[in-house]
């Protein structure tokens, strides 16, 4: 048994033993659970992939004369202005003004909110265009100016839903190509697409949310941020394997961090042909090895994690809830899965390569004493399930 304080003391003295979530598997096999639990202080987990429910709050400071922007665009991408005068919220999936979307199907969606976020972190010069109806206190009615992230008072990433615990494997059961947020899926189950770091993924290494909770310090694209709430659609109460690994989406995290500390290589705009734009983000989360059970759960391997295979031509869009079968991440990583007796080529949207890099970067920061762990101030619910949106008649 260890406490957060003991672990942080070891981090401070530069003596902490830190391993990544893939290294720990062999380590525990060699040393045994009891010895390893005494020796190891922290296991680092990570993920890099599309996180559509991301965005950022930007504060521009005041112009002379002042404006209260009632509509605004950054790089021609609409931002939300229903906040105080010069605060805006930029969302990752917002299209650029005049993007033809799917008018010429499938659209290319070359640039949108996620790309603006990447350019912002990269330090590029961006355009702000704002309109206002003008008031006595905020008389300016139109503004066009250029800025970089350094000119902003704050650029704070504020993501309602990141780090899905587990995720679907998408497949196409129809006779035409379909264009989804899981990529292009060829007809007749010709290919499949998955999206998780599997054995490296944060919430798969802490399946019961024993250490990752509200207040947990996380590594977000190089910045030190934290979990500020359970993520939207967090539903810890779904089906699990006997070892407690969720067999579907399950838990999610709401994360925030200062974008001024972020690195561009981990904040990347995405374009999905025929679907839209998004943001790929790199996140690392340390798991303190407080006891044997927590350690044991970080030893989860790709073979033990099951993902549901779902048809994105009918079952997903029609919300039928049907799952064709489950496959494990070892099979997924081999590049080929078997669905109802037929072999299907499978590709990933989440980058294991980048996740591994992040797990090592975070481990190094902890070993150097640059990243301390924080005990959650509240825990994520384990029992909740996801409610559907019911389309109702207007009540009389």
């Amino acid at each position: 048994m260890k406490t957060y304080e003991q672990i942080n003391n070891r981090i401070e003295s530069g003596k902490a033993v830190v391993l990544t979530a893939d290294e720990i598997i062999d380590y525990v096999e060699k040393k045994g659970l009891a010895t390893a639990a005494k020796e190891v202080d922290v296991v680092t987990t990570a993920t890099f992939g599309p996180m559509c429910s991301s965005g950022c709050v930007l504060n521009f400071g005041h112009s002379k004369p002042k404006i209260r922007m009632s509509e605004a665009w950054v790089q021609d991408v609409l931002v939300y202005t229903g906040l105080a005068a010069v605060d805006v919220y930029l969302g990752a999936t917002q299209l650029r003004h005049s993007d033809p979307a799917n008018m010429d199907h499938p659209g290319e969606f070359r640039y949108g909110g996620g790309h603006v976020m990447e350019d912002l972190v990269a330090g590029k010069t961006l355009q702000l265009f704002g309109l206002s109806y003008g008031t006595d206190c905020y008389p300016l009615r139109e503004i066009r100016t250029y800025f970089t992230i350094g000119d902003l008072n704050q650029a704070i990433m504020l993501n309602p839903r990141n780090c899905y615990q587990n995720y679907n494997v998408a497949i196409n059961d129809s006779q035409r190509s379909i264009y989804t947020y899981m990529g292009t899926l060829e007809p007749d189950r010709k290919n499949a697409s998955y999206c998780s770091a599997g054995q490296l993924s944060p919430l798969l290494n802490d399946p019961y949310y024993e250490t990752i909770g509200v207040g947990t310090r996380v590594w977000m694209a190089g910045a030190h941020g934290h979990v500020y709430a359970e993520g939207t659609q967090h539903a810890g109460g779904g089906a699990r394997t006997p070892d407690g690994i969720p067999k579907g989406g399950a838990g999610t995290l709401a994360l925030t961090a200062d974008m001024k500390q972020m690195r561009q290589e981990f904040v990347r705009g995405m374009s999905f042909r025929g679907y839209g734009v998004s943001l790929a983000l790199g996140i690392g989360i340390p798991i303190p090895i407080l006891n044997k059970d927590i350690l044991k759960r970080t030893c989860v391997s790709d073979r033990e994690i099951l993902a549901p295979v779902v048809d994105y031509s009918t079952d997903y869009p029609q919300n039928t809830g049907k799952v064709l079968c489950h496959v494990n991440y070892e099979q997924l990583r081999s590049g080929e899965i078997e669905v109802e007796g037929r072999k299907v080529a499978v590709g990933s949207l989440s980058s294991y390569y980048k996740a591994l890099e992040i797990a090592h970067l975070l481990a190094d920061e902890i070993r150097r004493g640059d990243f301390r762990l924080v005990e959650p101030i509240a825990y994520l619910p384990k029992e909740t399930t996801m409610k559907p949106l019911v389309i109702r008649e207007k009540p009389l």
Partner: protein, 139 residues
């Protein structure tokens, strides 16, 4: 007869050279086997052609000397499709869409993705599916 080799080339035809039967002469006068992957004439009437030529080193050399008399530039390295290493996240999403394994995983442990130019048949599938815009075409 000396050994035959296959070389992948990209030819760039400046304005006005597009109409000449250059490929015909490569086959007929220089004994080359030609396999065209992709050809395009831009709205400015400039032409691009990516192809394999098979023949003896000598014939290929002479063929290219002939091609160059038309003001056509021959590129042995910069091919039609390229992978920008800086932009690639190694997600592996392109791999199931690449028909030839030109895009492939080089390291099973780290899942690093690499591009083998020699295997690329310029189908352009990767350009359509890479969500990070890491694959691009010279034309």
């Amino acid at each position: 007869m000396s050994q035959t080799v296959t070389k992948k080339l990209m030819l760039f035809f400046p304005r006005c050279e597009c109409e000449k039967p250059i490929i015909y002469h490569l086959v007929k006068d220089h004994n080359l086997i030609v396999n065209v992957y992709r050809a395009k004439v831009t709205p400015d009437e400039e032409g691009y052609l990516v192809l394999d030529v098979t023949g003896t080193e000598e014939d290929i050399q002479q063929g290219m000397t002939f091609v160059k008399t038309f003001n056509v530039s021959v590129n042995y390295t910069g091919k039609g499709v390229t992978l920008d290493e800086e932009h690639c996240t190694h997600c592996g999403h392109c791999i199931t869409h690449c028909p030839t394994e030109a895009l492939h995983i080089t390291n099973r442990a780290t899942r690093e993705v690499a591009f083998n130019e020699a295997k690329c048949i310029e189908c352009l599938a990767c350009i359509r599916v890479c969500p990070f815009g890491a694959c691009s075409s010279a034309f």
